[in-house]
């Protein structure tokens, strides 16, 4: 875990633009460590390799979705459609691979392309038609949920004809090289997506404009930047990442479950917020988001090990979100 955190924090720390988020990121990181310490004292099962791997596995989908949401939230927008878009992309993969029997790479590309396309639709609704992000993506959320059910005929699509499909998330490339570290591929994908996204946000023009849009869109427009175009690009990238999440979840279940998806968007937004990204835009980091997603998974896992009822797990997550945002507000005041 720390190895990856270091790799990722390098570009983030270098950019002074993001230094404001450092405090909460540290706080979030400290909370994560504290949580893990508490659970490992409370239960000897917690620190078992199998359990830690399980936590990572459980983080993969929400983590990737949260990375997608981070892009949009930094622009000052919000995306409620990430969960159902993920499902929609999984169904598209099912259509390509199972219904049409096309080769696996085609199905993978189709899922990601479908995500990007839907993202660009959201982006266009928001940038060109000036529909508020909340409403536009609420509409997309319901629309995509419905489409996923229509296309699949409300039944799960199994990937039995594509024997390699489960490899995407279940087997372990790392484990093949380092047998003592059987990190599943889904988790590997999460970290690749996170590192790539972090580089995009801190090192590229797209990233610069993402922060600038959230900081002061009108000033950016008056600088001669085509803000509408870049906003659509941000939503497109975010949508494509949702497509990747769709592949991970479909691979893990070895099926596209069309009824799944709603509710994932809130977990993703929660991870982003716990990770210190400001909902008003202009500030945020991928590292923070990943820590946020891990905090949610550790909580869920730890509380389950301690046999706390699932209802209570949700209550605790809610409290953590409120505390995280309050800590951020305290810091701004201080």
């Amino acid at each position: 875990m720390t190895i990856i955190a270091e790799q990722e924090s390098q570009p983030v720390v270098k950019s002074a633009m993001l230094s404001q988020g450092t405090w909460q990121k540290l706080l979030a990181f400290a909370s994560l460590i504290a949580l893990m310490a508490v659970f490992s004292v409370a239960s000897e099962n917690f620190l078992q390799m199998d359990n830690l791997i399980g936590i990572l596995q459980a983080t993969a989908v929400n983590g990737v979705l949260a990375v997608a949401a981070t892009f949009v939230i930094i622009t000052g927008g919000i995306d409620l459609s990430v969960g159902t878009l993920m499902t929609f992309c999984a169904v598209i993969a099912g259509v390509f691979l199972t219904y049409w029997g096309l080769p696996m790479p085609v199905g993978i590309l189709a899922a990601i392309a479908a995500g990007a396309l839907c993202g660009s639709v959201s982006g266009t609704l928001i940038a060109k038609m000036k529909i508020p992000p909340f409403i536009a993506t609420l509409g997309m959320m319901m629309l995509l949920k419905g489409l996923a059910l229509v296309i699949s005929g409300t039944r799960p699509i199994y990937f039995n004809d594509t024997p390699n499909f489960p490899v995407i998330s279940q087997e372990s490339l790392i484990g093949a090289v380092l047998p003592f570290l059987p990190v599943p591929n889904g988790v590997l994908i999460l970290f690749v997506v996170a590192i790539a996204s972090s580089i995009v946000l801190t090192r590229t023009a797209l990233g610069r404009y993402t922060f600038a849009l959230g900081s002061n869109e009108e000033a950016v427009r008056l600088s001669g930047v085509n803000t509408d175009f870049w906003k659509i690009v941000v939503y497109t990238v975010s949508g494509g990442i949702c497509g990747i999440a769709g592949l991970i979840i479909a691979s893990r279940l070895n099926s596209a479950q069309p009824a799944l998806g709603q509710g994932y968007e809130l977990d993703a937004i929660a991870a982003v917020v716990i990770g210190g990204t400001s909902l008003s835009g202009g500030r945020g980091t991928i590292l923070g988001t990943i820590i946020g997603a891990l905090i949610i998974s550790v909580l869920t896992n730890g509380l389950r090990i301690l046999s706390v009822a699932q209802e209570w797990q949700t209550v605790v997550t809610g409290i953590i979100i409120i505390l995280a945002v309050y800590a951020d507000i305290l810091r701004r005041k201080g």
């Binding site: 270098k14 002074a16 633009m17 404001q20 090192r203 590229t204 023009a205 797209l206 990233g207 610069r208 404009y209 922060f211 600038a212 900081s215 002061n216 009108e218 000033a219 950016v220 427009r221 008056l222 600088s223 001669g224 930047v225 085509n226 202009g282 500030r283």
Partner: protein, 514 residues
Amino acid sequence: MIPLVTIERLDKSFPGVQALKQARFELLPGEVHALMGENGAGKSTLMKILAGIYRKDAGEIRMEGVSVEIASPRAAQDLGISIIHQELNLMTDLTAAQNIFIGREPKRAMGLLLDEDALNRDAATIFARMHLRLDPRVEVGTLTVAKQQMIEIAKALSFRSKVLIMDEPTAALNHAETAELFAIIRQLKAEGVGIVYISHKMDELKEISDRVTVMRDGETVGTVPTATTTIDTIISMMVGRSLTETAKEVPDLSRHDVVLEVRNLRRDHAIRDVSFKLRKGEILGFAGLMGAGRTEVARAIFGADPLEGGEIVVKGKPVAIRSPQDAVRLGIGYLSEDRKRFGLATGMDVAANIAMPCLSRFLYWRIFLKAQAIRDMARSAIARLRIKTPSEAQEVRFLSGGNQQKIVIAKWLARDCDILFFDEPTRGIDVGAKNEIYKLLNTLASQGRAIVMISSELPEILRMSHRIAVMCEGRLTGELPAEGTTQEDIMRLATQRNSVTGDARATATEGRTT
């Protein structure tokens, strides 16, 4: 006479800066006391402590001889101290009366219902005391900035304030409105209210204030009577040196190419048939009252707002500008009067802001940022424009107004724009920084850039312009040469209303042909 307010040996530090060092101040009843100093001199901090917004670190504040602790804005109000901020704090969807009595509404039916009649009656009483003609039931959002300011003053008076602090009250007012404000200030003065007046406008201070206290670097330099002190003395107290105004030379531009020509620009009532030419190396001053349509013209040419008709010719070629992007590509830059809203991403650092319009120049493979090149470019801009900032990685919101303005200028210089619209380039900027901005404008013009400078300050227009265009109610009412023009000439054109536009068009055409 016991002073209303006495401030002695006040200290205040913020992380990294000592904002006030042993600051002193005194306010007498019925006095208008101007507080002056460059931005960052500590005048706002001092007044915010008096108004209970900040807490002092050390020192003493006495109200009418009695030592007081002002722990909160509420405590200040209870002591009869009110502050009117530069940015007005009104609820635009509520009426004038509702704004004035917010949180203190008169009640009826055992306190269950609001008594709107009493509310409006009380507001009307205050307006009458101010000799202000205004319907208490009018929605605040529909009023001009000047009228909104009057409502802030009325609100302060409703607290029976003895001390009224006004921070740059005329920043957004035109001459007529300023005169109206001064009439009200004189009225309050006659009633014994003490007024602290913060402003950068020297002529106003001469007109309205009794004494001037000058601050510099958090310390009180001194207090002098306005009547017997020259403006030069006050300026030299402020900057710690005397500023020499360079005599203006108007270069002969008749042989220079016309880089921008607009013909018959139109948009409903805001822009009515505006035509003008701009030459290489020229500073064309745009004068007029607030709301005359100057900003609208600039924004329309820049593509920020739509046009209904008209032609724009850039360097001899007719062009269609549909967005700021098109304008920037043609080398046109626009520096807004409202830097924070339209000019800067204040949460981002200096380098990111300067590089914003020209980011495409700093990319590998059109994707990755050349971080080092951006830093170097920002550093050289900081050095060249003498921007005061700890580094290029400092967030812009922590810098003063003058330095923020320089960053906006640096942005457009980095983009290498050669047609620049400066909209109120020195608004809210202190005297020292103002001079630097003026020098910069002259340098830019002498390098061959063409500049349109919109300004509501006539001395600034007269000092800087090579040629002066005057607007009124969306029309260009005339053009004046730089030499031999007086403030009165400009005001005549700036107030030329509808009925005489026929003549004005004639004047405008004449002005262009000369």
